[in-house]
């Protein structure tokens, strides 16, 4: 896959959650250009074309959507979000925060930092599947991204 034509960047440490997410997006034909990283550091490397992606990525081609889990080892989702939203060339990238908990004290922080959505992953599968499908439809098909990056 060409790392410069990624539609969805999934940042998720739980492989099972990732699998369920990808399956659901695939079901609706929205996972063709999906790239999955399992921690915050890799996510930042990808977005800012650094480290492992230094040679094969151009920062001028960001993903259309970043699905960002909050609870992750090393760099948390909040820190990744802050980096994206403060980066001059990345601040317009839509970021949807994913969390397992309604009790998360960081909802307000996420919106403060410029998160575009905040989704609580339902426990039951039907709910979860619906949420992922709706997300994909909305951000990849309905939403018109800013013109600055194409």
């Amino acid at each position: 896959m060409n790392p410069n034509s990624v539609d969805v960047l999934l940042v998720e440490d739980s492989l099972h959650d990732a699998e369920l997410t990808i399956r659901e997006l695939k079901k609706h034909n929205m996972a063709n250009n999906l790239f999955h990283v399992t921690d915050g550091e890799a996510a930042l490397d990808f977005i800012f074309a650094m480290g492992h992606f230094k040679t094969n990525r151009d920062i001028g081609f960001p993903p259309k959507l970043v699905l960002l889990d909050i609870q992750m080892p090393k760099l948390s989702g909040i820190e990744v979000l802050r980096a994206i939203k403060t980066g001059n060339r990345t601040k317009l990238v839509p970021v949807v925060m994913l969390t397992s908990s309604r009790e998360d004290p960081d909802i307000a922080t996420c919106y403060d930092l410029g998160a575009n959505s905040y989704i609580v992953k339902p426990v039951n599968f039907e709910g979860f599947a619906d949420a992922i499908k709706n997300l994909g439809v909305y951000w990849l098909l309905l939403n018109q991204p800013p013109v600055t990056y194409t």
Binding site: H16, S100, R102, E103, K121, V123, F125, E126, F128
Partner: protein, 612 residues
């Protein structure tokens, strides 16, 4: 009634004075009363004594003067009698005209000074036969009138006073006898007068402002020895006792009369009452002066005493107020060994104690707050971890079980499908349990933010949410008018949701579901109730009703986690209310909860906040 009110007014008026003013005021009033009473009593005593002394002196003086004048009139009579019985006079009266010159000389001798106005010799028929020279009686008409007054006494006597023009005269009559036989009378007229010098002597004898009067015993003529005066003895029977009297000038006088023996005269002495009472009045002035000085001293002493009490009291009050308003104060210095000093010392040690206690308390509260905050933070992160970390595996279980059923359905036997369904169902239940448990824990930490709640509107909105109009389930729903209350909006809404959904759930097997919602007042609380005709519960277990995870029905019969009523209980008790329930198995149950009545003040504050 009016008197009582007035009395109260007086009391409140005195109370309005501070202690510092009240003490001198009372001392002043007390001294004033004492001084007035003492002055009055002693003044009356002194005055009566003065009057008594004056009266006694008056009596003594009048007696003395009376006997003195009586003596002098006796002397006059004796002298006159001697002259009357001289040989020349007798011979002349017997007709010896040669003796006329000698007789006349004898008569002239009876006029030793000009106050002796006239001497007349009368014959047996009381006709004047010889008289002395008459050049001293002025005017002439007065002399003629003296001649016309012919006394008729046979024995030697002093006559009554007669007024002639401006002068007062009295006669002295003695019979002229020859061989024991009265052959005529000798009559002398004397002007009743005194020289200013002799009057002054008399005055000195009697005392200042004393006056001497002479008069006839029948009260007809009175003289002060210079001219005729009007003088009245008020009652002749009292004439031997002093009496009070207003003289011609309107001045009060003390008077006494005394008859002069051997004469038809009375003498009267008057003392000016003012002079008699002079000593008493001087005494009164003195006592008033002394009283005033005493009162002034009393006020000063009272002021000083009250100041001595009030100043330390004021300092203590200020310090107490400072402590009351939470300030730290310096110890109050009251350098004395009396009760106030003890009070100040006690107060100071109390202040220290209070300060110490306050500091201890503050420190304790601070420590506890820190502990609580950290516990709270721990609990929050604990809740968060539970919800996050417990939910993630559950999602995976459900997710992959679903994938198994969907993607590999061809490889699964019916039994395997049934088992995957059970796995999924139980995992979902686990998810609900976690959610409810978290909700319950959250209510425990909930800060109640009271606002005005329109109960009626809230209940209807909950009903609409739980029973959408198109469900087709027919329920008899009776909702009374429900009073507004104040409470935490979302928490109270949760209470209604839980209780109503329970009522719906546990009555759903009835052919005709019936739910009643109403309220009534109980003391200062409003009690709401939700009554259903459902399966009810055994009242023996009602203690367990409101406990977490305690259920009286199996999950097969009625789904649920056992959190709902525990949540209700927690929310209501956080609102200072109570929850209870009554039930008959298979007949239905009734759940009650009480909340404090909304007070008007809270509503007003809410309205102000909303307007503000």
């Amino acid at each position: 009634m009016r008197f009582v009110m007035k009395n109260n007014n007086i009391q409140s008026a005195t109370r309005r004075f501070s202690l510092q003013h009240r003490l001198p005021l009372w001392i002043c009033l007390l001294l004033l009363g004492t001084v007035i009473a003492c002055s009055l009593i002693s003044y009356i005593g002194v005055r009566n004594a003065a009057l008594q002394i004056g009266s006694e002196r008056l009596m003594a003086l009048s007696g003395q003067l009376s006997s003195m004048f009586s003596q002098s009139s006796q002397n006059i009579l004796t002298a006159t009698r001697t002259a009357a019985n001289s040989e020349q006079v007798a011979q002349f009266l017997r007709g010896d005209t040669t003796m006329k010159r000698q007789a006349k000389a004898a008569l002239d001798k009876l006029r030793p000074d000009s106050t002796w106005a006239l001497v007349v010799l009368l014959d047996e028929g009381w006709q004047p036969v010889l008289r002395s020279r008459n050049d001293t009686v002025r005017p002439r008409a007065g002399f003629d009138r003296l001649l016309e007054q012919l006394p008729t006494a046979d024995s030697a006597s002093m006559g009554k006073f007669y007024r002639v023009e401006q002068s007062i005269y009295y006669p002295v009559i003695v019979p002229v006898t020859y061989k024991q036989k009265i052959i005529g009378h000798l009559l002398r007229w004397k002007l009743q007068t005194a020289t200013p010098k002799s009057l002054e002597q008399l005055s000195q004898l009697m005392g200042t402002k004393a006056k001497l009067y002479f008069g006839n015993a029948d009260g007809s003529v009175w003289t002060d020895l210079l001219r005729q005066v009007s003088f009245q003895v008020p009652d002749s029977t009292q004439s031997r006792r002093p009496f009070q009297y207003k003289d011609a000038e309107g001045k009060a006088v003390l008077a006494a009369t005394a008859p002069i023996a051997h004469t038809p005269w009375v003498l009267a002495i008057t003392f000016s009452r003012q002079i008699v009472l002079d000593a008493a009045n001087r005494f009164l002035r003195w006592i008033i002066l002394v009283g005033l000085i005493l009162i002034i001293i009393g006020i000063c002493v009272g002021w000083q005493i009250s100041r001595n009490i009030i100043l330390p009291l004021n300092r203590l009050t200020a310090a107490a107020q400072a402590i009351a308003s939470g300030e730290r104060t310096e110890p109050v210095t009251v350098d004395r060994n009396d009760e106030l000093g003890t009070l100040a010392a006690a107060f100071n040690s109390m202040g220290v104690q209070v300060h110490q206690a306050k500091q201890d308390l503050e420190k304790k509260v601070k420590d506890r707050t820190i502990q609580l905050e950290s516990a709270n933070r721990e609990l929050e992160s604990f809740s968060y971890s539970i919800s996050h970390d417990l939910r993630a595996p559950l999602r995976a279980i459900i997710g992959f079980t679903t994938i198994l059923r969907e993607d590999h359905t061809a490889h699964l036997s019916d039994e395997a499908k049934r088992i995957t369904a059970i796995i999924k169902q139980n995992t979902e239940k686990m998810g609900h349990l976690i959610d409810d448990l978290l909700a319950f824990a959250k209510v425990g930490r909930l800060d109640i933010r009271k606002t005005h709640i329109d109960t009626h509107e809230m209940v209807h909105s909950v009903i609409n949410e739980l029973l959408p109009a198109d469900t087709g389930n027919y329920i008899d729903l009776v909702v009374d008018a429900l009073p507004p209350i104040s409470g935490d909006r979302s928490a109270i809404r949760q209470v209604w949701v839980n209780l109503l959904s329970n009522a719906i759930k546990y009555s759903r097997n009835q052919t005709r579901q019936r739910i009643e919602i109403g309220s009534y007042d109980l003391d200062a609380q409003t009690v709401f109730y939700i009554k259903d005709n459902g399966v009810g519960f055994d009242e023996r277990y009602k203690d367990k009703l409101f406990k977490v995870f305690q259920r009286l029905h199996s999950a097969q019969e009625f789904e649920g986690t056992g959190i709902g009523l525990a949540l209700v209980e927690k929310i209501i008790s956080k609102h200072s209310g109570k929850v209870w329930a009554e039930s008959v198995v298979d007949k239905g149950s009734c759940f009650y909860f009480s909340l404090p009545k909304e007070d008007a003040r809270a509503i007003r504050i809410n309205i102000e906040t909303m307007n503000g």
